[in-house]
């Protein structure tokens, strides 16, 4: 399910079936022009990723709206905020909360994170809509889906 009116109406009526949430976290920066295309393509691909995962498991999983943080900012500060999001979600209740990212920088903070960190090695792509990329994403998505299912 997604954070949209139609899905949330369904959610409210079937809360007992939906116990898993995913927060895609995305870096934002504009100061390093040379890295702009990398940052933006990461964002696009992670969004496709998140939507595909949601699509496979939409009856049990809620896709939380994207969380943005400053790419070169203070991760400790961000993590505290992120933990507040997690707390808010867990209270509904959600049994499993995942944070989805391509940024390996979060690995260091994993132990202080209240959510489960789902770190995926990012990949570069010229065109996020190409068939080739879709294929690649699909392959990885099914791995991630397996991983999430192992928590159930």
């Amino acid at each position: 399910m997604q954070w949209i009116k139609k899905d949330m109406e369904l959610y409210v009526g079937s809360k007992e079936y939906i116990d898993t949430a995913i927060i895609p976290i995305l870096p934002f920066q504009m100061s390093q022009e040379g890295n702009l295309s990398k940052s933006t393509s990461k964002r696009e691909i992670l969004s496709i990723f998140a939507t595909e995962i949601e699509n496979e498991l939409s009856g049990r999983l809620l896709l939380i709206p994207n969380y943005y943080y400053l790419e070169y900012g203070d991760k400790v500060e961000e993590m505290e905020r992120l933990n507040k999001w997690t707390k808010e979600i867990q209270a509904q209740p959600f049994k499993h909360v995942f944070v989805l990212t391509f940024d390996s920088g979060w690995k260091r903070y994993e132990k202080d994170m209240s959510a489960n960190l789902l770190w995926l090695p990012g990949f570069q792509a010229e065109n996020p809509n190409s068939d080739e990329l879709r294929q690649m994403i699909r392959g990885q998505v099914s791995d991630v889906v397996e991983l999430i299912r192992s928590y159930w």
């Binding site: 079936y17 496979e56 939409s58 009856g59 879709r134 699909r138 889906v145």
Partner: protein, 171 residues
């Protein structure tokens, strides 16, 4: 002082203008809604209903369901997206092609063929253990209350085309 005065009137002017723009936008939103209400014929048919080549040759279809994925071009207002579609395709015992929507009729997860080792020869939904027989009919006692939808289909030059997914009544 005089500059001050000018500032205020400028601000007021901008405020008026914005109110005007807001009104204009409201009118802009109402107009299409009215049009849709008045004239259903004007409703555009989305490309969702069209037949799409899903990249599968009829001769490659076996009696074991296989998953095909494709994209449709969807324009929803000004927002253009490429949502994915999938189907489970196989030939039944009479050689008829069956294309089932993989969307679980319970809450919408994607089911898979023989997705659970303890339930062979069935479609399985990983979310709440929903189950369906091979023809897509839900198995009573599991959460789904209706069979999987079937796709409209046609074959041209030995290639499978799929159209709209048609839902079926509960078993």
């Amino acid at each position: 002082m005089s500059e001050d005065k000018q500032q205020v009137s400028r601000r007021q002017f901008l405020n008026y203008t914005l109110t005007g723009v807001g009104g204009f936008m409201a009118a802009g939103m109402l107009a299409p809604m009215l049009r849709m209400a008045i004239d259903p014929v004007l409703q555009s048919t989305s490309s969702e209903g069209e037949f799409v080549n899903v990249g599968l040759a009829v001769e490659d279809i076996t009696t074991t369901p296989q998953r095909v994925d494709w994209q449709i071009e969807q324009v929803d207002g000004w927002y253009q997206s490429k949502p994915g579609r999938s189907a489970w395709v196989y030939k039944d015992d009479n050689g008829n092609i069956i294309a089932l929507s993989p969307v679980c009729t319970h809450l919408g997860c994607v089911v898979s063929w023989e997705g659970n080792d303890s339930h062979p020869n069935e479609f399985f939904c990983p979310c709440h253990d929903g189950r369906y027989t091979k023809d897509g009919v839900n198995i009573p006692g599991t959460p789904p209350l209706a069979p999987l939808a079937t796709y409209e289909q046609k074959v041209e030059n030995g290639i499978l085309y799929l159209g709209k997914a048609i839902s079926r009544k509960g078993a």
